[in-house]
């Protein structure tokens, strides 16, 4: 088939991640390791490698192939780290793939982050031109659309104010207004609709569907499932760098939801580890990781250290379906000694969690407070779903009404 707008063949991108990350130590410590570092660095430069031997390689994207026809609006779904942003970065030529090919027909406009092309010192007017140029518009084009952009952003009065004096809402509005008036044949949009106030979000979504109807090809990443289902008819689902589904939006959404409840498994186990998080599990009130609102929720972790760390810290986040951390709690070694050589099992009970109905996963991060080193971060652990069964509310519970439910005492005065 010849009539494509984007054609991707076996695209892959490999990243290098440091084993330990950058250790932040004392000046004295840095000075002591300096000769060794200099030696390794010099050797690395001479042999044309990146300093930091022993780094791990991982594929952020692997064997991804698909084809998009002109005028199609495609949603991209996937959990954090699934490779969504990497895919957009490759297609917008910000970074090069490690393998594979991609062909794109038409001018490409990429909107990976709002308003980063702005210079805080410049005025709104000047920034419209600057950011327009960065996004690939010609000066004449920007001039022709200048009034539309200003009207869309509703910032007529502040055009000659430096944007550093703008509120964050104004900043975002101007950023989106410029980007929305880009007219490339292919538009790549990363999670940018998650910002701004509700009315402006509405306006942006309206603009997005207009763009789609205008016959342009759009690839767009979002955690906002409503936006995906209203704006797109086809979607692709990525998981750990692999394309696992490309088809109509409703089945893609179903696949994506499956990732949340089944993908991670009820329990994370890796007993081969001598360092780090070996086990993580959640005990919900019902079977199949279903949890009834308000019941106590229990997490269990198994952590191993091959040698005793300075001061261990375990940080746990409960993350919702839109990748927002909703609950955060930590355990420091200083409050209760637990980090020691060997395997330690920890149990954590939330007596009355107030998480609202929805799907959640856990992100666990293990670090050493003494050396400020991040030892390990795992996400997508222990998926569970909170249900409101048996809890009565007039009119019923609607999804996404909130993230957190409080018990309150009302009084009529």
């Amino acid at each position: 088939m010849d009539e494509y707008s984007i054609r991707v063949e076996n695209l892959g991108k490999q990243y290098r991640i440091g084993e330990t990350g950058e250790a932040v130590g004392s000046i004295r410590e840095s000075l002591l390791t300096l000769p060794r570092k200099a030696w390794h660095g010099a050797r690395a430069i001479l042999s044309g490698q990146t300093p930091g031997a022993g780094d791990q390689l991982f594929w952020a994207l692997k064997d991804v192939s698909f084809e998009v026809r002109p005028g199609e609006v495609i949603g991209i779904l996937g959990r954090n780290g699934a490779g969504k942003s990497t895919l957009l970065k490759i297609l917008s030529r910000i970074t090069e793939p490690t393998e594979g090919k991609a062909y794109i027909r038409g001018r490409v406009g990429a909107l990976l982050e709002i308003a980063t092309g702005f210079d805080p010192e410049l005025t709104g007017r000047e920034n419209i031109f600057l950011s327009g140029a960065i996004l690939g518009m010609k000066k004449a084009e920007i001039q022709a659309k200048f009034d539309q952009i200003v009207a869309f952003a509703e910032l007529e009065k502040f055009l000659d104010t430096p944007v550093k004096r703008y509120s964050s809402g104004m900043y975002v509005r101007l950023g989106f207004a410029v980007a929305a008036h880009l007219e490339p044949e292919v538009l790549l949009v990363d999670e940018v609709l998650a910002v701004g106030d509700a009315t402006f979000k509405e306006k942006c979504l309206g603009k997005m569907s207009e763009v789609g109807e205008g016959g342009r090809t759009v690839l767009f990443v979002s955690h906002n499932l409503n936006a995906i289902s209203t704006l797109t008819r086809k979607a692709l689902v990525l998981d750990r760098g692999k394309l696992i589904q490309f088809g109509d939006t409703s089945s893609a959404l179903a696949t994506y939801r499956m990732l949340w409840t089944k993908g991670g498994g009820s329990e994370f186990v890796d007993e081969s580890k001598t360092d780090g998080i070996r086990r993580a599990r959640v005990s919900t009130s019902e079977e199949d990781q279903i949890h009834r609102f308000g019941e106590s929720l229990t997490f269990e972790f198994e952590i191993a250290f091959s040698e005793k760390p300075g001061t261990g810290a375990l940080s746990i986040r409960i993350v919702d379906e839109q990748a927002r951390p909703v609950v955060h709690f930590c355990l420091f070694d200083t409050e209760m000694p637990w980090s020691r050589e060997g395997v330690t099992r920890l149990r954590c009970v939330l007596p009355k969690p107030r998480l609202y109905m929805g799907r959640y996963t856990v992100t666990a991060e293990l670090s050493d407070r003494a050396s400020l080193q991040k030892l390990e971060t795992l996400d997508g652990l222990c998926p569970f779903e909170v249900v409101m069964d048996g809890i009565f509310k007039e009119g019923g519970w609607s999804p996404n009404a909130c993230a957190y439910l409080e018990t309150v005492d009302w009084e009529v005065l």
Partner: protein, 290 residues
């Protein structure tokens, strides 16, 4: 399909060579002017003097050099008064220094641009050089004003033919200075992105480079004192050709042979070619390592 001739983009690992990226820079030239314009605007925003700084910096340097090198060290500059003789060197030197420093740090400085947007990466150091040309333009008018004052006061001779010769040779001098800055700056821009150590090396290197260039003293005075057989090494420094060329063009005063341009120009071209290749090789990973 509505349009037949849509531009086609082909993405693959390691695609495109140096020529391709230069051609792409040309297509994106409007963005280069925008970035340069932004730099100039921002550089003097919220400063009391504004563009006055572009004038003040070379003027103050000139006063200090005159005090130290003429009054204290007693350097002789023939029939041309030391201040104007020195200013004629500071002009191209500051253009070179500014371009080199700004180009070197450009990729790291424009991290937001590199990691979130696409443009030919080479455009970023190039735009820094263009912004330095604006400063050069401003201080060039000060130079013309100074020439006028010295001629009116009768402290030096300057005919129309000399001035015209200077203006005719000016583009060449500027081009040579800019290419020299880029030949090193492109290397350093790519290296700084990977090894931040170069952020500390560059200012240091530039300071030493200045003392190795005939900004404050005539080139001949250093050459005389070099050990025998090392003179050729000194002529590799392109800034000798640029500075002495500039002096010769506007003041008719130089002690450098024309032939010295050849080795330094060759060195600049080779370094620039190597730099462009290295930059092209490294730009693939800029977005990943910044």
């Amino acid at each position: 399909m509505k349009e037949k001739n849509l531009p086609e983009t082909f993405i693959q690992p390691g695609g495109g060579g140096v020529l391709g990226s230069l051609a792409e820079c040309w297509r994106y030239r409007e963005l280069m002017y925008f970035l340069a314009w932004r730099d100039v605007k921002v550089r003097y925003k919220q400063t009391l003097f504004g563009m006055g700084w572009a004038v003040l910096q070379p003027l103050v340097s000139m006063v200090v050099f005159t005090l130290v090198f003429q009054r204290v060290a007693g350097i002789q500059t023939g029939s041309v008064p030391y201040p104007i003789w020195n200013f004629a060197a500071l002009l191209p030197w500051l253009l070179f220094q500014g371009s080199l420093e700004k180009a070197s740090g450009s990729i790291v400085l424009e991290r937001g641009l590199v990691t979130k947007f696409y443009c030919p990466r080479l455009l970023i150091p190039l735009s820094k050089v263009v912004s330095c040309l604006v400063d050069f333009g401003v201080s060039f008018f000060i130079f013309l004003g100074m020439l006028l004052v010295y001629v009116i006061l009768g402290k030096m001779d300057l005919g129309w033919d000399q001035l015209l010769c200077g203006l005719a040779l000016l583009p060449l001098c500027v081009l040579f200075a800019v290419l020299s800055a880029l030949s090193v700056g492109v290397w350093l821009a790519a290296l700084t992105a990977k090894y931040r150590d170069f952020r500390y090396i560059v200012p240091f290197m530039v300071r030493i480079w200045m003392f190795l260039s005939p900004v404050a003293y005539p080139a001949s005075q250093l050459v005389e004192k070099l050990p025998k057989g090392f003179g050729w090494l000194y002529t590799l420094n392109p800034m000798i050709s640029v500075i002495e060329g500039f002096r010769w063009a506007f003041l008719g005063e130089t002690d450098m042979a024309l032939g010295q341009v050849v080795p330094s120009a060759t060195a600049v071209l080779l370094l620039l070619l190597g730099g462009l290749h290295y930059f092209r090789h490294m730009e693939r990973v800029f977005a990943d390592i910044l």
